[in-house]
């Protein structure tokens, strides 16, 4: 039996509690523990991913209660991949947070960060749908804390809306869970898969509504239009490292859709068949369009990136909504890309923010910022990735998705929206970049009052003001961009991995067997009594049935 | 058999009495015409009403179950807290001037509720000029 599966959940939780209990007054120690924790997490995640990479599905019964009666964690290719992605992102973002000092601008950053990771990891690993709700709540409440980290009225205002919207989402989640339990009498996902299939097609309204409500819940998380409204302000106002980490949170929604709607409500299931296929693809396309229009329409660089997140989620869901192997492996490739690119952009924007000071992120020229050329180059690279231009992974992902959409009936609309929104994104990003990075040189030149443009010698390359070289921040950003490059260069092996992952999703029998019928589990042996107690008390509990329960009912 | 019948009659009586007193409390709450008057009805009637019901419960437990005196605890609890609740509600009524103004206390300056904090600097409720 391996306990490693639970480590990504328990390690951050224990570490966070430890930081709260012991080192909450020692910033440096908090940092050390936090980084050490995330590094360990990365190692564990890599181990889990490696273990799952040959198709092994590992199951862990919490409290040693067999599924579906207890809660289980399941590590298959998809969940371990998401865990690994989270760990990688977490490490780089944490470095940025420490380097930029964001972690010191409020209290309890590291505890909340660890709790946030716990929630995300739990959501990826759990095999129980109510437990998924609990982890959603853990990651949400930690995200509330991180989002309003260090306060500020604007951030709090956005935070209020963010929390309220997600409260509505959580309420909806519970409605969906209630409906699912009322229909099936179980909460275990693998068990659900079997029981949903048993539901009489002539009496399927309940389960259909449940399936749709659940999908809406995940759609909120995945910021699918028209349930994306919580995103722009909260991501734009969140501290940069937090927004960067949030890149994975929208993916939690996408992950849940992938998991539930291949395992429990697969596309070929008669009971719920043809239900979301009708409108999931259109709304994904609307999200893609709305996001990229936002990139062009916003007046603030932070919001621009936030809108690009909406766009990229629309893109991702466009691939998911096809529910074909090709579509889903394209989506999986895009998940990694979009997470890394989003994070990189948020961090770069924060470098801009730090440099521009009071000028903020409003899309307009300001005086050149220290290290401007470097930051501009980073922005350019990340923007290329995000807009899906070659040569980075955004382009590869886009090609994969376009190629996969060829099989759908809506292929022309899909292509038109994907390509059209790419164009809008290109225009939006180039407009923003040239306003933020290039126009500053004109301002500097006008200040120098040079009459002829080509003679504005002074304006061409201003000696930038000397500043601290942000080593950790650049490490984080460059690390993310390097990962994007690797994701592009290694697209072949990566897509092979994703295809195998997709195959695992589309053939859920091994998953279900691993959960409900695990090999080597002797269910007859009851582990729930300590041997000592049983030995000391031979007439004790072991042989008891409920008939003598009253004896022990005193206190 | 007759014992049980007798007990059932006793329980029934306690139930009726208790329920009646609780009902009277609510009737008073609705009927009486000033806040201080209304305060009398529920805080009294309801305590005895619940008391009778709890007594019924105790008798029931002793007659048909394992026997229980736990109900005494609830009774004690209600009896101890009811005056405090009433006191606070009365203070609210006085503070908000909801009833006829109380007479001056014979040997002190004023009633504590009406001893409104002044706003002189240095007093707990005084605002400080920014």
């Amino acid at each position: 039996m391996t306990h490693w599966i639970i480590a990504p959940v328990v390690l951050p939780a224990m570490l966070a509690a430890f930081i709260v209990l012991v080192v909450r007054f020692h910033q440096n120690l908090s940092r050390v523990f936090s980084v050490a924790g995330v590094v360990s997490l990365l190692v564990i995640a890599a181990g889990l991913a490696w273990q799952a990479s040959d198709g092994t599905i590992t199951m862990y019964q919490l409290g040693n209660w067999a599924a579906p009666f207890g809660i289980v964690l399941v590590a298959d290719r998809l969940s371990t991949m998401m865990v690994l992605l989270t760990a990688v992102l977490a490490l780089l973002v944490l470095l940025y947070a420490i380097g930029s000092g964001w972690d010191r601008r409020g209290r309890h950053f590291h505890s909340l960060y660890q709790f946030q990771l716990m929630g995300i990891m739990g959501a990826f690993l759990t095999g129980d749908i109510f437990n998924l709700f609990v982890f959603f709540e853990v990651l949400l409440i930690a995200s509330y804390g991180l989002m309003i980290h260090s306060g500020g009225t604007r951030r709090l205002r956005a935070g209020t809306q963010y929390v309220l919207y997600n409260l509505l989402g959580s309420t909806l989640f519970l409605f969906a869970l209630g409906a699912i339990y009322a229909e099936t009498g179980t909460l275990n996902m693998a068990d659900l898969a079997g029981r949903v299939a048993l539901i009489d097609a002539a009496d399927n309204t309940g389960i259909r509504v449940a399936a749709v409500l659940l999908l809406m819940v995940f759609a909120i998380k995945a910021a699918i239009a028209p349930l994306h409204f919580w995103l722009p302000s909260s991501y734009a106002e969140a501290p940069a490292p937090v927004a960067a980490l949030f890149g994975i949170m929208t993916k939690v929604g996408a992950y849940a859709i992938l998991r539930i709607y291949t395992l429990v409500f697969p596309p070929d299931l008669a009971t719920t068949g043809g239900l979301y296929g009708v409108w999931l693809l259109p709304v994904a396309l609307i999200g893609l369009a709305v996001g990229m229009i936002g990139v062009l329409g916003t007046r603030d660089l932070g919001r621009l990136v936030a809108f690009s997140v909406i766009g990229s989620m629309g893109m991702l869901m466009t691939a998911v909504a096809q529910f074909t192997p090709a579509g889903i492996s394209a989506a999986l490739y895009y998940v990694v890309h979009s997470t890394l690119a989003t994070a990189a952009l948020f961090l770069i924007v924060d470098l801009v923010r730090a440099g521009r000071g009071t000028d903020g992120l409003l899309l307009r020229a300001a005086q050149p910022i220290p290290g401007g050329a470097m930051i501009a180059a980073l922005f350019f690279t990340a923007a290329i990735a995000m807009a899906g231009l070659p040569p980075l992974s955004g382009f590869v992902g886009k090609l994969l998705i376009l190629d996969a959409s060829f099989a759908t009936p809506l292929v022309w609309i899909t292509w038109a929206v994907i390509l059209g929104s790419s164009l809008i994104a290109v225009v939006g990003f180039s407009r923003a970049g040239s306003l933020m990075f290039w126009k500053s040189h004109q301002l500097a030149g006008e200040a120098a009052e040079q009459p002829r443009p080509e003679d504005q010698q002074g304006a061409r390359d201003l000696p930038a003001p000397k500043a601290r070289i942000p080593v950790l921040e650049l490490t984080a950003v460059c690390g993310l961009l390097a990962l994007l490059v690797a994701h592009t260069v290694l697209a072949g092996p990566v897509t092979r991995y994703m295809e195998a992952t997709t195959q695992q999703l589309f053939a859920p029998t091994p998953y279900i067997r691993a959960v409900l019928d695990p090999p080597g589990k002797d269910l007859s042996k009851d582990p729930h009594h300590s041997d000592d107690a049983a030995a000391a008390q031979p007439d004790g509990a072991t042989g008891h049935d409920s008939s003598d329960s009253k004896d022990e009912g005193g206190h | 058999m007759t014992g049980i019948v007798l007990i059932e009659i006793v329980i029934a009586a306690a139930l009726v009495v208790g329920a009646l007193f609780m009902l009277v409390g609510s009737i008073g709450l609705l009927k009486l015409d000033s806040p201080m008057k209304r305060l009398h009805a529920p805080t009294k009637a309801a305590t005895l009403g619940v008391g009778a019901l709890l007594a019924a419960s105790m008798i029931h437990a002793f007659a048909f179950g394992d026997g229980s005196l736990k109900e005494l605890l609830i009774m004690a609890f209600l009896f101890v807290t009811a005056p405090i609740s009433a006191n606070f509600i009365a203070k609210v009524a006085i503070h908000r001037g909801q009833d006829m103004p109380p007479p001056e206390p014979p040997n002190d300056d004023t009633w504590s509720t009406l001893d409104a904090p002044d706003t002189r600097p240095g007093r707990p409720d005084a605002p400080v000029e920014p």
Binding site: G554 | S68, A90
Partner: protein, 166 residues
């Protein structure tokens, strides 16, 4: 000696109450219940001693019992009386009035018990206390003579409490 006692048994009366409460909660008097209840009854007052800095001196149990019996009887009568008034009397026929009760009691615990007694008994509610604590403000639901009400409170309850506490 007193100091030593106070350091591990700050409120013997409270401890007694707690042990009784525990036995009531556990719904039985077995050895285990009593032992455990006593442990808690000793520990909890210690943990909360700072909130009850100074206990009144010992109280004579017999007088307390008499007082309790009187009050319980009065409560029963009061409830019937008040219920009758509520059900039968028209609002305008009720002579509700304020009654001020000057206090001879000084111990807060005693005053609190007096005030509670007033509220629980016939047609009266303790509404407030004067700003230096020398007088209670009582509201009577139906009283011809406020002075009579005041005198009855002072003679029937305050006198007994003064004997118990001071």
């Amino acid at each position: 000696m007193t100091k030593v006692r106070r350091s591990f048994l700050p409120h013997p009366f409270l401890t007694t109450i707690l042990v009784v409460v525990w036995c009531l909660l556990a719904n039985g008097i077995t050895l285990g219940t009593v032992v455990f209840g006593t442990i808690l009854g000793l520990l909890i007052p210690l943990a909360t001693a700072a909130y009850w800095p100074d206990a009144p001196k010992g109280v004579p149990p017999a007088k307390v019992l008499v007082y309790i019996l009187i009050v319980v009887w009065d409560i029963l009568v009061a409830n019937v009386v008040v219920a009758w008034i509520v059900l039968t009397r028209r609002n305008q026929d009720m002579r509700s009035t304020w009654v001020t009760v000057p206090l001879e009691l000084r111990t807060p615990e005693a005053i609190a018990i007096l005030a509670g007694t007033i509220t629980l008994t016939p047609g009266t509610v303790t509404a407030d206390m004067s700003d230096e604590g020398h007088c209670l403000l009582v509201h009577a639901l139906d009283a011809d003579d406020p002075a009579a009400v005041r005198d009855e409170i002072k003679s029937r309850y305050e006198r007994r409490l003064k004997e118990i506490f001071e």
